[in-house]
């Protein structure tokens, strides 16, 4: 029996006995989302790159493949995953990366995980093997379910393989540093983003603004003069630590909130330590404030807030949905996972 058939069979018997499954890759992101429980469905044995032709800018990968292994293969061909995914541990797999849908610092400028998912093979809650999307850049046949599975935290299907678009690694990257207020940083981020500059990262922490420029040597050098600031030494390490949440800002036990807001939103009046990333569109807040205070402020700004790390994992970790929207989510979940066996409650209590 192939691994795929074995997984299908495990899903079928779980569906028959209505026993929940916890889908597990490298377990590096088990801190994320709400607490869930059930029998482990491990993708551990389902590893390897299926197909990679660099000139196609497409790679097909099994979900249990280590993210580090995939990235090393791409790097050999001077290519990369454009969404710069955080690993949050050495065991991180590609499946977990797609299921969590978490993108890194490059996201506002090149796109999110979902933007580079061209197709997936998966198992639905009936244990059926489905091929969704495809292996080409442009494909509008059938509903775009592969992108909908991205970021669904394993609540809709078991991800087996993914076809991803990759991009050439920029030949040159430079990071510039300047000191300013948070309000000025937001203003500068968005002024630059409105100009044709080769931006690939923009964050603000402790009175310092960091901006990363990536591209061909000529273009980056021209942009350095427009943006201004001092070159940052050890820039690669800085962006890695930001992406992996290893900067000193992220240490300690205070709950960590992820605030997703329109990029030009002025600094929010919330008590706690704040780090601005994604050119202002993603803000990290360390605070003991109650959830409703955080969400009230963020919603007023047109955004939403996620309790990313720490705090009560049985509470509403993700921003609650309006009743009609929750009902639609439940119907959608039911269409893929009729008995409700995949990661129940990981995203919302009634999902």
């Amino acid at each position: 029996m192939t691994i795929q058939q074995d997984l299908q069979q495990q899903v079928q018997s779980a569906a028959a006995s209505r026993s929940p499954l916890v889908i597990c890759g490298g377990n590096s992101k088990s801190f994320y989302g709400r607490a869930t429980s059930g029998d482990t469905l491990s993708l551990d044995g389902h590893q390897g790159i299926i197909d990679y032709t660099p000139s196609e800018l497409v790679v097909s990968v099994r979900a249990g493949t280590l993210l580090s292994e995939l990235q090393a293969e791409l790097a050999k061909e001077a290519q990369m995953l454009p969404f710069e995914p955080p690993h949050f541990g050495e065991t991180a797999t590609l499946g977990g990366c797609i299921a969590s849908g978490i993108s890194g610092p490059r996201r506002p400028y090149t796109g999110a995980v979902r933007d580079f998912v061209l197709g997936v093979n998966c198992i639905n809650g009936k244990g059926e093997y489905l091929r969704l999307g495809g292996q080409v850049m442009k494909n509008v046949a059938g509903y775009d379910l592969s992108r909908t599975l991205t970021g669904s935290l394993g609540t809709l299907a078991v991800l087996l393989d993914a076809h991803l678009k990759v991009l050439p690694r920029p030949p040159l990257e430079t990071t510039l540093l300047q000191h300013c207020s948070a309000a000025t940083a937001v203003e500068l981020f968005n002024r630059w983003a409105g100009q044709p500059l080769p931006l690939s990262g923009a964050c603000y922490l402790d009175g310092a603004l960091y901006v990363r420029l990536s591209g061909m040597t000529e273009g980056v050098q021209a942009a350095v003069n427009t943006v201004g600031g001092e070159p940052l030494d050890n820039a690669t390490q800085f962006w890695n630590q930001l992406r992996e949440q290893q900067l000193p800002f992220f240490s300690g036990e205070t709950p960590l909130w992820r605030l997703s807001v329109p990029a030009a939103t002025p600094p929010l009046a919330l008590d706690g330590a704040m780090l601005l990333d994604w050119g202002g569109a993603q803000r990290w807040l360390k605070t003991d404030l109650p959830a409703d205070v955080v969400r009230h402020c963020v919603t007023a700004a047109g955004g939403h807030a996620t309790l990313f790390r720490g705090g009560d994992r049985d509470s509403a970790v993700f921003q609650p949905l309006q009743p009609a929207m929750l009902a639609l989510h439940q119907r959608l979940k039911h269409s893929l996972d009729p008995v409700g066996i995949f990661n129940p409650g990981r995203m919302y209590p009634d999902l």
Partner: protein
């Protein structure tokens, strides 16, 4: 439900000028840009407010009457073909740009706004909306969302799905939902992805927030000729392998070059077997560096001549032929049929050669002018609908081409959508479990199947019939695919 009853109901709750029901008034709506398929709806509703759309949907929902939404009617797959027992919902009067937010680089627009109008309005801020289907002067942004429209610049800037941020939609029972958000993501499932390209089967879009990008400082085009399609195909692959992502990379084969040249004086090299148009954009420094590299790659791939646009006027002139390709076909042949498959680029030469063989076999000329950079083919089959049986042969040939695309790992539609046109080929690309899954998704949004019924996803019954038709000499064309 009688015709009169539904019209009476609509007229009772909507202004008289918003409901058309006389045959002569319905006629302009009988087809979209795929004019081979025609049907008259029971009535056309042209609402002016979201509340009027909600009322129309509620009436249809209560009376179990199908609803087909329509933007500008420029779609090429029959997605806006009316349902003979349903109403056609025209969103033409939703043509307002509500707000441009230069700080956040977004625009909130109504679905009837044309694609190009968004970029024109954003130009004042040095911004533009990236996806540019060739019908951008006329096509509506609502239609773009429904079809996940592409264009010439997809390779670098993505499709519609990559360039929108939020939708306001009405479900069939009249519930208004916000999909996505004004931030870069939204809580819950990525319904924005699911709705984009859903061909009007899941909900009615009444407002769209699009992302705007800064206008590039400069754009330049390299035009190169090759003495074989294979060499041009190699040049495409080599360009991308060299680490360059062109803003656009288009290929015209010999029949297309000739057709275009007869139509307007393009200055395209007449003796070439294929030409490539490679557009590079960005800062002047970047573009100059990339042009140098592209020239080198093209030379190595065997380019017989190369020209670089020296100014904006020359760039426009290089593109003029490409843009005139479709009207040029209209001059050359009474009718033409535009296909839309995508294939992995590495199979470009093989597939084009196979298409030529098919063209000879069916005795129907084919021109190729397409988005080579992302492997999105647009074979144009030239035919004469007045010759008995020729449309039928054309459709059969088209079907063969799409099946070939699937065979090499591609898809039956890259950007035009399935609509009515490619409904049978869906049976070739997807198996019964996959199609059933799509039907189940539809069920979650529209349990009574009233939104654009019969399009995009074939019934399993239809596929069984199509499968039976396709048995030749006792052999199925794709033995590896599951049948039902």
């Amino acid at each position: 439900m009688g015709v009169k009853t539904i019209i009476t109901q609509l007229l009772a709750q909507l202004p008289e000028h918003c409901v058309l029901s006389h045959t002569e008034d319905l006629r302009p709506y009988e087809c979209d840009a795929l004019s081979a398929y025609r049907a008259l709806p029971l009535a056309v509703v042209i609402p002016e407010t979201a509340e009027q759309i909600r009322i129309a949907l509620q009436i249809c929902s209560e009376k179990n009457v199908p609803v087909v939404a329509r933007g500008s009617g420029t779609g090429l797959s029959g997605g806006a073909l009316p349902h003979s027992q349903g109403i056609l919902l025209s969103l033409a009067r939703f043509n307002r740009i509500i707000e441009i937010d230069p700080q956040n680089r977004t625009a909130r627009v109504q679905p009837g706004v044309t694609n190009l109008a968004i970029s024109s309005a954003a130009a004042a801020y040095g911004l533009y909306y990236a996806p540019d289907p060739s019908s951008q002067l006329a096509c509506s942004i609502g239609g773009n969302v429904a079809e996940n429209a592409g264009g010439v610049h997809c390779l670098k800037y993505g499709l519609t799905t990559h360039n929108i941020q939020a939708l306001e939609v009405l479900t069939i029972d009249g519930e208004q939902l916000t999909i996505g958000s004004q931030a870069l993501d939204a809580p819950g499932y990525d319904l924005l992805a699911l709705l984009t390209g859903s061909e009007g089967l899941l909900a009615i879009t009444i407002e769209i927030t699009v992302k705007l990008l800064p206008c590039p400082e400069v754009a330049q085009v390299v035009m190169a000729s090759f003495d074989s399609v294979d060499a041009a195909g190699t040049a495409v692959t080599a360009t991308i392998a060299s680490g360059i992502i062109p803003a656009g990379l288009e290929l015209l084969d010999r029949p297309a070059i000739k057709a275009v040249d007869k139509f307007i004086n393009t200055g395209y090299p007449k003796d070439a077997a294929a030409i490539l148009l490679c557009e590079l954009d960005g800062t002047q420094a970047d573009v100059s560096a990339q042009i140098e590299r592209v020239e080198r790659v093209f030379t190595e791939a065997g380019a017989t001549s190369q020209q670089i646009s020296r100014d904006e006027q020359e760039r426009q002139r290089f593109w003029a032929g490409r843009k005139a390709a479709f009207p040029a076909m209209g001059r050359l042949s009474p009718d033409y049929y535009c296909m839309d498959g995508t294939i992995p680029r590495k199979h470009l030469a093989k597939v084009l050669n196979h298409i030529n063989t098919l063209s000879e076999e069916y005795q129907l000329p084919i021109c190729n002018v397409f988005h080579a950079g992302d492997g999105n083919l647009h074979p144009l089959i030239l035919y004469d609908a007045n010759k008995p049986g020729e449309l039928q042969r054309t459709e059969e040939l088209g079907g063969k081409i799409l099946e070939l695309c699937v065979e090499v790992g591609g898809t039956i539609t890259g950007e035009h959508g399935v609509g009515m046109e490619k409904i049978n080929q869906m049976c070739v690309q997807f198996n019964s479990a996959e199609l059933q899954q799509f039907h189940d998704i539809k069920q979650a949004f529209d349990p009574d199947k009233l939104l654009n019924p019969g399009k995009a996803i074939p019934t399993l019954h239809r596929c069984a019939e199509f499968g039976a038709m396709h048995v030749h000499h006792g052999e199925l064309p794709h033995p590896e695919l599951e049948r039902f």
